[in-house]
C-alpha cells in the first residue's frame, strides 16, 4: 500500500523528471543545479505549509507552473543570455535554433535571421572571391528569355550567364564587404531585439 507521503513524493519526482526531460540541450552541470535548486524550493515550501500533504505539494507545483513551461523559460533565458554576451552569429543561431523548437515566434525569427546571415555572408564571400575569380565572381545582371533582367550573385565557380553584365565590377569589393557586414550586424541586432522582447513578455504571467 502506498502511503500519502510516498504519493506526494512520487508527484514531486514526476514533476522534476518532466522538467529534466525538458532541459535537454543544456549542459549536465546546469541541469543538476536547476534540479537541486527546485527540489530545495519545493521542500522548503511544503515544510512551511505544514508538510508534504496533497494541498501543499499541489499548490507548490502549481505555483511553479507546468514543468514544460518552466523548462522552456530556462532554455530560452540561458541560450539568449549567452547569445547577448557573445554576439557571434554562430552562438546566436544556436540560441535561435533552440528557441525555434519552442515557439512559432522563435521559428519566424530564426527563418528571418537565416535569410539575413546567408545573404550577408554571400555578399562578403562574393566580394572576396572576386580577387580569385575576377571574371566570374560578383553581382551579374542578365536578360531572361521573357526579356526581364535578372540578378545573380556569383562566387566565380563556372562562368557568368551568356550576355550577362558585371553590375559593380571591382566595386563589389567595398560594396559587398560593407553591405554584407552591415546585413550581418543588422540581423544580429534584429535577432537580439526579438529575443529581448520575447523574454520580457515571459517575465511575469
Amino acid at each position: 500500500m502506498v502511503s500519502s507521503t510516498d504519493e506526494q513524493q512520487q508527484k514531486i519526482e514526476g514533476y522534476l523528471a518532466k522538467l529534466r526531460g525538458g532541459l535537454r540541450g543544456m549542459n549536465e552541470h546546469e541541469v543538476h543545479e536547476i534540479m537541486q535548486e527546485l527540489r530545495a524550493h519545493i521542500v522548503d515550501k511544503t515544510v512551511v505549509g505544514g508538510g508534504a500533504t496533497t494541498f501543499t505539494v499541489d499548490s507548490t507545483l502549481d505555483a511553479l507552473g507546468s514543468p514544460e513551461a518552466l523548462a522552456n523559460q530556462y532554455l530560452t533565458v540561458a541560450l539568449l543570455s549567452r547569445a547577448e554576451i557573445n554576439r557571434s552569429p554562430l552562438r546566436i543561431m544556436q540560441g535561435l535554433f533552440r528557441w525555434a523548437s519552442l515557439s512559432i515566434a522563435g521559428l519566424l525569427v530564426m527563418a528571418a535571421s537565416i535569410v539575413g546571415y546567408v545573404l550577408g555572408g554571400a555578399l562578403m564571400l562574393s566580394a572576396l572571391l572576386k580577387l580569385i575569380h575576377p571574371r566570374a565572381a560578383g553581382l551579374w545582371a542578365y536578360p531572361t528569355s521573357t526579356g526581364d533582367l535578372e540578378l545573380s550573385l556569383r562566387m566565380g565557380f563556372g562562368g557568368p550567364p551568356i550576355g550577362a553584365r558585371d553590375v559593380f565590377g571591382w566595386w563589389i569589393l567595398p560594396i559587398g564587404l560593407l553591405t554584407g557586414c552591415g546585413l550581418v550586424a543588422l540581423t544580429t541586432r534584429f535577432a537580439l531585439w526579438c529575443a529581448r522582447r520575447y523574454r520580457q513578455s515571459r517575465v511575469l504571467p
Binding site: 543545479e33 530556462y74 533565458v77 540561458a78 543570455s81 549567452r82 520580457q200
Partner: protein
C-alpha cells in the same frame, strides 16, 4: 466620447504589468544589495517590501539570466533543513548595475512626480 474610449481597464492593466516587468530586475538587485539570499527568500522580500508579486516559476529562470550576465553569483550552503540552498549575491558588476539603475529610477520618478503633482491635487 464613449466611456470605453475614455477608460479602458484592459489597457490600464497591461500598462501596470509592463511597469512591473520593467522594475523586476532592479527589485531583485536591490533585494540582494546587502544580503545573500536564496530564491524563496528573494520572493518573500519582493512580496513584503514591494508591490511586485512574482510567480515562482519566473524567479528562478530570471536569477539564472542575471547569473549568466555576471550580475549575481551563487553558492550552495547547507541548511538546517537538511538540504543545500543556492544563495545569490551581487557581483561587482551587479552592484554597479544596481547603482546605475537606481540613479535612473530616482531621476525618472522625481521628474514624473513633478509632472503628476497637478493630477494628484485634482484627485
Amino acid at each position: 466620447m464613449k466611456e470605453t474610449e475614455r477608460h479602458n481597464p484592459e489597457t490600464g492593466d497591461k500598462w501596470e504589468v509592463q511597469l512591473r516587468k520593467g522594475c523586476l530586475e532592479l527589485a531583485i538587485l536591490a533585494a540582494l544589495w546587502d544580503a545573500k539570499l536564496y530564491g524563496l527568500e528573494i520572493l518573500r522580500q519582493l512580496e513584503n517590501d514591494s508591490d511586485l508579486i512574482v510567480s515562482e516559476g519566473t524567479i528562478y529562470p530570471l536569477l539564472s539570466r542575471l547569473k549568466a550576465l555576471g550580475l549575481v553569483g551563487s553558492e550552495w550552503v547547507e541548511s538546517e533543513a537538511g538540504h543545500p540552498r543556492k544563495y545569490y549575491a551581487l557581483t561587482r558588476a551587479g552592484k554597479q548595475r544596481a547603482v546605475e539603475m537606481t540613479a535612473t529610477w530616482t531621476r525618472f520618478s522625481s521628474r514624473m512626480s513633478k509632472l503628476l503633482a497637478p493630477v494628484k491635487k485634482e484627485k
